[in-house]
Amino acid sequence: MQEGGAQPTGSSTGNPHAARDHARAQGGTRVEAMPVLPASAADGWPQDVADADKVWAETLAAGGYAGKILARGTRLELTDLAGDGCVSLLAFNREMPTERLNVADTVKIQWNGYLGEGRFLLTDMGRVLFSILADEAGTHDTFCGASNAAGNARKYGSGDNYGPHPNARDRFRLGVAKFGLGVRDVHPCITLFKGARIGADGTIAPEIGPFAPGRRVVLRAEMEVIVVLANCPHVLDPRPEYAVSPVRLRAWRGPVAGGDDALRNSTPEALRAFLNTEDYYNR
């Protein structure tokens, strides 16, 4: 290698003091897709949420990912701000992440493949990870899973995390790594805001939109969970361009489902899943 070149005259980052000032001057910048800390400083909360209960305020970038530990009873609201969000979701039992979302059990045990208000997400251990308290979208996908590097490379010319067209699976790799988890922990996912309908012959009809802006989904954590989200175009999105828009996340503490909770008691399978969950924390 050659000797380094001369410093540019008048550089604002030519010495550590100047570089520190330069870095610090960037603080306070606001962009659309970012976390807001503390969460209570963010806008866009439901009216009745107390500041002390606000635990997560972040807008997930187009192509971005995020994760969070949520306490039992926490509500997680996702808002498809511009109508083209596509949020794939992984979820784990925080204290024992080998227990995690099981998509096959989720659809089999509810006798239905379509998610919506009143349905729940199950672990492989017969317990409830999340309930769906509200759903203004109605277009969600339990079948098609996450995009991957090979598929994004075919569709968009690239699929790498370092490029302009990241894929959901590699977003998940990074997302779970932040919780000490690895590629074996990246399990079959569900996807919110983009749908998949199944024909009588098994054909998958994707529901891609774009949809009306502002559709919301509210989940309730029924266990202490790690949730990891990736916001990348749906794997069956037919559009040639990498089309996805930011999604707003708001989470706040709330009460754990009580014995009279309507969703808990909605079906025999739901009741037994909640009983299993309550039994797990009965220690």
């Binding site: 096959a104 089999k108 239905n112 079948f143 899973g145 079959p188 309908r197 098994g202």
Partner: protein, 205 residues
Amino acid sequence: MDIAAGPLVLDETVPARAPWMHGVARGQTLEIIDLEGNQAVDFLLYAAADDAERYSAQDTVAMQGNIFLRKGSVLYSSEGNPMMRIVDTNVAYHDTIGGACSCESNTLRYGHHTKAQHACVDNFLEANARAGRGKRDMVSNINWFMNVPVEGDGTLGIVDGISAPGLSVRLEALMDVVAVVSNCPQINNPCNGFNPTAVRMIIRA
């Protein structure tokens, strides 16, 4: 179905309710024969070179735009690579969405009185443990010979089978794979005709 060709590598009968695991090299075929009819065969695949890469139900159904596996279907991995291809089958379609029964899911579907019954997840865990794999390596599996229709409103379920004695599926390995099977012990739904039976596995070069 066409008669299988190629030198015989392995011909084993998996007893009712039992696990099974075996490698299938690229270019070899694995034939699974439903000896007595309507016996669900729960099935996972791992790449022999790196078992962090495994069969992905979601990649497989997304790639073919259909949830059913039929003659010609390609089984894709979690990294989007082709693992096996259905060379032939004389059953109309096979299941990708029903997953494996477990002691825990049995408590939800049928009641806590079924908790102690043997289940596919326990077979998968036992077979995988011999290869150093654990619970993190469990993903949505294929159910050969199992019938899970989806109705217009999303209602789905395991219903009476469409297989029959002697029907089979034959797969060609497109990479070196390890196949892990649970010969399903379920007795609370019609996936095994309420009577788990043996199946036969034939590998040819």
